[in-house]
């Protein structure tokens, strides 16, 4: 799949998948003697939903952390929009347009939902400290413009009723949605979702799946997600990377992956004789 051409193509449901927007090349990440990721390469195309799956401890979250700049791999390169990305701090990666959510919710508990989502738009906030201190002209205009954008996302994710509620008072499922809203508010070119459906019941999973598909469909956002629920992954994603013990053991469409012997072995176990 990786040596496919970079031409765009159209999926069965009529979405256009563009060229490669991010490419991981021979990434190796070690923590001391532990090899978390070993020589993995894959790419993410514009507009697609790309899943990363694998058993516990396979290195999926580490991979996401490499993409979002939290870990710097010892070997290998990350190419973003055709350019090799120099080592950079996570906030610089965010400013390039890569937003993410976390496996364990990482919202700002002391702030309201609205403020949380507004923090997602820091990339679009340009006014200086002095302008903000006076709250006149550019600062106020910027606040209002960004508020409008944020309100669209709040509408989109159906969290209008909790706009002013402190995040600490929300139940788990809503917190997950607020976190998605905060990531979306950045208008990212790549959205990374780390187990967006962990710990949810069936209805909440259905809601979340709907939101993920809608986001991809309406905003054309490229999404890379980690998920354990196989049904969800197979239904949502265009292409799947499978990892096990830090190695890539499969890459392709859901159907290809489902029939890959190495993947089946990793998930079901294999008799050693």
């Amino acid at each position: 799949m990786n040596d496919m051409t970079h031409d765009s193509y159209t999926t069965e449901d009529g979405r256009t998948i563009g060229g490669v927007v991010m490419e991981m090349k021979n990434i190796t990440l070690r923590f001391g003697g532990v090899v978390a990721i070993e020589n993995i390469s894959f790419d993410i195309r514009e507009g697609e939903i790309r899943a990363i799956i694998g058993p516990n401890g396979a290195g999926k979250s580490s991979m996401l952390n490499v993409i979002s700049g939290f870990y710097v791999p010892q070997e290998g390169d990350v190419f973003y929009k055709g350019q090799k990305r120099p080592p950079m701090r996570p906030y610089q990666v965010a400013q390039q347009g890569i937003a993410r959510t976390f496996q364990n919710i990482a919202l700002f508990e002391g702030m309201s939902v609205l403020d949380n989502v507004m923090t997602g738009r820091l990339r679009q906030m340009k006014s200086g400290l002095l302008a903000q201190a006076l709250w006149k002209g550019k600062a106020e205009a910027e606040e209002v413009a960004n508020r409008e954008a944020v309100e669209r996302i709040i509408d989109f994710l159906e969290i209008q009723h909790i706009r002013k509620t402190p995040v600490s008072r929300l139940p788990y499922g809503l917190k997950k949605r607020v976190e998605l809203a905060r990531a979306l508010a950045a208008e990212p070119s790549i959205l990374l979702l780390d187990e967006p459906m962990a710990g949810m019941n069936v209805e909440e999973k259905e809601d979340m799946s709907r939101f993920i598909l809608d986001v991809n469909d309406e905003f054309g956002t490229t999404i890379a997600l980690i998920e354990h629920d196989m049904g969800v992954v197979m239904d949502l994603s265009d292409r799947v990377v499978v990892m096990d013990y830090g190695k890539k053991i499969g890459d392709g469409t859901p159907d290809e992956v489902r029939n890959n012997q190495a993947v089946i072995d990793a998930y079901l176990g294999v008799a050693h004789d």
Binding site: S68, F70, R89, P90, Y91, A94, Q95, A99, R100, F102, A106, L107, F108, E109, G110, M111, D115, M118, T119, G120, L122, R123, M125, S127, L129, Q132, A133, L134, W135, A139, E140, E142, E143, V144, R147, E148, E151, R182, A183, A186
Partner: protein
């Protein structure tokens, strides 16, 4: 019932993010400003100004400053006394070096100088957090006091080692020196407090405030959504330093007039301002006012009650005062760990529904 927001609809986002979104609050603010600016100056006398109003106004500025750093940005500081000293000595040096410039600008510049010093001592915050940072700022406290004690240049080589505020005027009216009028000093400090409170509110309700709070609540998540931790922390130290410097400058020049640094700006001062924001409420501008009022007014009130009304000897009352205030602080913090501001919020919730329980 008494406190309502029903029917108070917003039709623009600008209206929704204003300083007092609720009409009732807005009118209360206008009323308080009216009384503070147009009524109190006419009835104020020397006792009220020196015992209550000046300390309250000046400590409020310091508390707002520290609250931005500790309450909004989550960086603990025990160096407030030292930073106030920087403001005081900065103001003194400016007053004596440039006598022709208005004291108004001296105070602002002293704030600016403190801001720079505060940033310098805030640099360790990039590496260390919590208690360890508190200890690092404690070093600032002791170093700065030592510096102002030991380097004669700071006190213009005066024999006593003290600094004395020369007489300075604003619009021809004396605000520093021995011959000031009560209303003039009061208004001078009130203007600074108003400016500082408005700036603090503007900063905390907008992008900058959200950046600070993001760092406070979860610094790793903040960095991943695009907050530059260096800029966020340093800006908090800078803004906080400015306010604390202004309060130090006013404390020296307008309130005390003469300062011996170890006595006035010692570690006690740092703790006092820290207690103010803890009792008032971390992360709340109103809490800064409430905390300052609590710790300034309560001793005065107690002294008046114990000595004035009950006729106890002064020394006994002075010692009992410590006991009672200490006890009250503990009671308060057990009953409401989030301070007076939270108490006020709960009261508003109750008033909104009164007389119905739900």
């Amino acid at each position: 019932m008494f406190y309502r927001e029903a029917g108070d609809f917003k039709t623009t986002y600008a209206a929704d993010s204003q300083t007092f979104p609720i009409k009732f609050d807005r009118f209360r603010y206008y009323a308080v400003s009216f009384v503070a600016f147009l009524i109190i100056p006419f009835v104020i006398n020397d006792y009220w100004v020196n015992a209550i109003f000046l300390p309250f106004l000046i400590y409020s500025i310091a508390a707002i400053g520290l609250n931005i750093l500790v309450g909004y940005c989550g960086q603990v500081s025990l160096g407030t006394g030292g930073f106030m000293a920087v403001g005081a000595y900065g103001c003194y040096k400016l007053m004596t070096a440039f006598p022709e410039v208005s004291i108004f600008f001296h105070v602002l510049l002293a704030g600016g100088i403190t801001s720079i010093v505060c940033v310098l001592f805030g640099l360790p915050s990039l590496r260390i957090k919590g208690f360890y940072l508190a200890v690092a700022t404690l070093a600032a406290q002791f170093f700065l006091v030592w510096l102002f004690n030991r380097v004669p240049w700071f006190y213009n080589y005066s024999a006593s080692g003290q600094i004395n505020a020369p007489e300075r005027t604003v619009f021809g009216i004396e605000v520093t020196g021995p011959n000031t009028e009560a209303w003039a000093t009061y208004l001078f400090c009130l203007v600074f407090l108003t400016i500082c409170a408005l700036i603090a509110r503007n900063l905390t309700r907008g992008t900058q405030g959200r950046t600070w709070m993001a760092i406070r609540d979860m610094d790793i998540a903040a960095e991943i959504i695009g907050v530059n931790p260096l800029k966020a922390k340093i800006s908090a130290f800078a803004v906080s330093g400015f306010f604390v410097g202004v309060s130090g400058a006013l404390f020296f020049s307008v309130y005390l007039g003469a300062v011996e640094v170890g006595e006035v700006f010692g570690i006690n001062k740092s703790f006092l301002v820290l207690f103010m924001i803890i009792i008032g409420g971390l992360g709340s501008i109103f809490g800064s006012f409430a905390g300052a009022a609590f710790l300034v007014l309560l001793p005065v009130l107690l002294k008046n009650v114990l000595v004035g009304m009950l006729g106890w000897p002064t020394d006994l009352a002075a010692h009992l005062e410590f006991l009672i205030i200490g006890g009250l602080i503990i009671t308060f913090l057990i009953a409401e760990p989030h301070g007076l501001a939270q108490l006020w919020r709960v009261a508003k919730e109750k008033l909104r529904l009164w007389p119905f329980p739900h």
